[in-house]
């Protein structure tokens, strides 16, 4: 069997559903793959390790991929896990913030992903506001708590399938503003990247086949899939995960291998316009649809 060491972007959560199901249901094994998953706590690490050849594959984010490629990391996207943005701007329902415009003069917390201030800038730009009109605070791992505790009025970088549910469970229902509705081009939240040198390796094609099968299973049998998912590891069975699972179902890429070059080009152009990257290279140089 071909070994694949896969670094996730964060602890295992419903976003990783297809990967877990493929593992649980034996779809990877079917493809003669032996997949080993690692959970890091710092999402910026996995792509670096893959670029350095220390792991085969990493879960990363499309916007970050553009930055990484721009910085010279030899990475190639070979698949998509979550095909829409998850990132969103979240405010408490009780905050009285009805639109992005109301953010003027407010405090916005974010978890440094490298991209959040840009998202906010684009969103504010639609309302003819700039970053100067809000106060940005890095709150790192405390998005929900800082919001509940009233230390910030809004947070950017919250995942719509996760933080919204979390806040609701804590008794603080919240509202999300979706980035792709506020002037940011739609992108793939979670992508799978490999080292450039390995991009042609046929095992990644087989990997995507297994993933596709797993996604189909999830969509067809959401409840059985949940059962299977929560059985993967002891502490996965929680109220939060159950709710997040339901909200994530519709966001998994149905065709993980498929690549929409135009969409990547669009996001690349956006990144360049925002000054996050210097160039917008040819998509084929950093993204392929594996065979």
């Amino acid at each position: 069997a071909d070994k694949v060491t896969l670094l996730l972007d964060w602890f295992i959560n419903p976003d990783h559903g297809p990967l877990i199901i493929a593992q649980q249901k034996g779809y990877f094994a079917e493809q003669d793959l032996e997949v080993e998953m690692q959970e890091p706590a710092d999402p910026s690490m996995p792509p670096k390790l893959v670029a350095a050849g220390k792991a085969d594959m990493a879960v990363s984010y499309q916007p970050q991929l553009h930055v990484q490629v721009d910085q010279g990391l030899p990475l190639t996207r070979v698949g998509t896990l979550v095909a829409t943005p998850l990132n969103s701007l979240v405010v408490l329902e009780s905050s009285g913030i009805e639109s992005v415009k109301d953010l003027e003069g407010k405090k916005v917390g974010y978890s440094v992903g490298g991209f959040e201030d840009t998202l906010l800038k684009a969103m504010l730009g639609q309302q003819n506001l700039t970053l100067e009109d809000v106060e940005l605070v890095n709150v790192n791992w405390s998005l929900s708590p800082s919001l509940i505790a009233g230390k910030v009025d809004a947070v950017i970088g919250a995942f719509r399938n996760f933080e919204l549910n979390q806040l609701d469970i804590e008794g603080h229902p919240a509202r999300a503003f979706y980035v792709e509705e506020q002037g940011v081009p739609a992108y793939d939240e979670l992508v799978l990247v490999v080292n450039n040198a390995e991009r042609e390796n046929p095992k990644y094609g087989r990997f995507m086949t297994a993933l596709e099968k797993a996604t189909q299973y999830i969509v067809n049998h959401p409840d059985e899939a949940w059962e299977s998912f929560k059985g993967y590891k002891k502490d996965l069975d929680s109220e939060l995960n159950r709710r997040a699972w339901a909200d994530t179902l519709s966001r998994f890429a149905l065709r993980p291998a498929a690549l929409d070059e135009a969409r990547y080009q669009r996001v690349g152009a956006f990144m360049q316009a925002q000054g996050l990257t210097k160039t917008n290279p040819d998509v084929a140089s950093y993204a392929i649809a594996p065979k």
Partner: protein, 258 residues
């Protein structure tokens, strides 16, 4: 310290904790009360124990290597005087780099396994131990050294029988500080990358807002650290019979002059 007094102190701390919760009216996702945490401790005991084992192993190994390395460096500094003006600044500089900023580099070299966490713990206790050992070894009364020299002591016995015992109190201080910072190293290592250990568990619980579980892990960590500290204190007391006073020795405490 008697077990009874230990329990008393623990109970007192819990009371203060509960009071803090009441006074600050901290919501439970920020600071859960002791009862909640004890509850989480009970219902997750298996999980906690499993992760605690890993962390403990990392801490102990880190302590071992850190102390050996620190002692070795201090000895090098003592023995090779010529090297001193060059090595010391290097040491200070190396210390001034926050170890966990280097964590990614360590991960890259040592992988996601235990090695990188042990390395983190080692690095983080390396400097305090080195500094304490070096300071202790350096300040040996010159009379003893001269005497030993006329008695025909070679370097080795000079070190083992004069410098080391004379430095023991200082080494003890260093070791105590080391014991109390080693857990930090291990936990930070786990934060940066791992899938086991109390640090992992804490981060994980924190991300899910299972703050009670996070504090339960913290509690286990604290208990481990305290245990380690007392163990080392005991050990030092054994090693220094001529100096009856260690940190928790109050029964035959010699000084009441102050």
């Amino acid at each position: 310290m008697s077990v009874l007094r230990g329990l008393g102190v623990a109970a007192g701390l819990c009371a203060i904790w509960q009071l803090l919760v009441w006074v600050t009216a901290a919501p439970k996702f920020i600071l859960p009360g002791p009862l909640l945490v004890l509850d989480a401790l009970g219902s997750n005991s298996g999980l906690l124990l499993e992760h605690a084992g890993v962390t403990l192993a990392e801490i102990l190994l880190g302590l071992l290597f850190g102390v050996l390395l620190g002692l070795g460096s201090a000895l090098t500094l003592i023995w090779f005087r010529r090297l001193r003006p060059w090595l010391l600044p290097v040491l200070v500089v190396s210390q001034s780099i926050p170890v966990f900023a280097l964590a990614p580099v360590l991960m890259l070299w040592l992988g996601y396994g235990m090695a990188s966490k042990v390395a983190m713990a080692t690095l983080i206790i390396y400097f305090p131990v080195t500094a304490a050992c070096y300071d202790g070894l350096r300040h040996t009364s010159s009379g003893w050294l001269e005497l030993a020299r006329t008695l025909g002591a070679d370097r080795r016995s000079l070190l083992l029988q004069i410098r080391l015992p004379a430095a023991l109190p200082a080494l003890g201080s260093g070791l105590r500080v080391a014991a109390s910072v080693a857990p930090i190293g291990a936990v930070v290592g786990e934060w940066v990358g791992s899938s086991t250990g109390l640090g992992y568990l804490m981060l994980h619980a924190n991300a899910r807002m299972q703050v009670d579980l996070m504090f339960a892990a913290l509690l286990v960590l604290a208990v481990m650290a305290v245990g380690l500290y007392f163990l080392i204190d005991r050990l030092l007391k054994r090693l220094m019979p001529w100096q009856p006073e260690t940190l928790f020795d109050n029964d035959n405490d010699k000084e009441s002059l102050a």
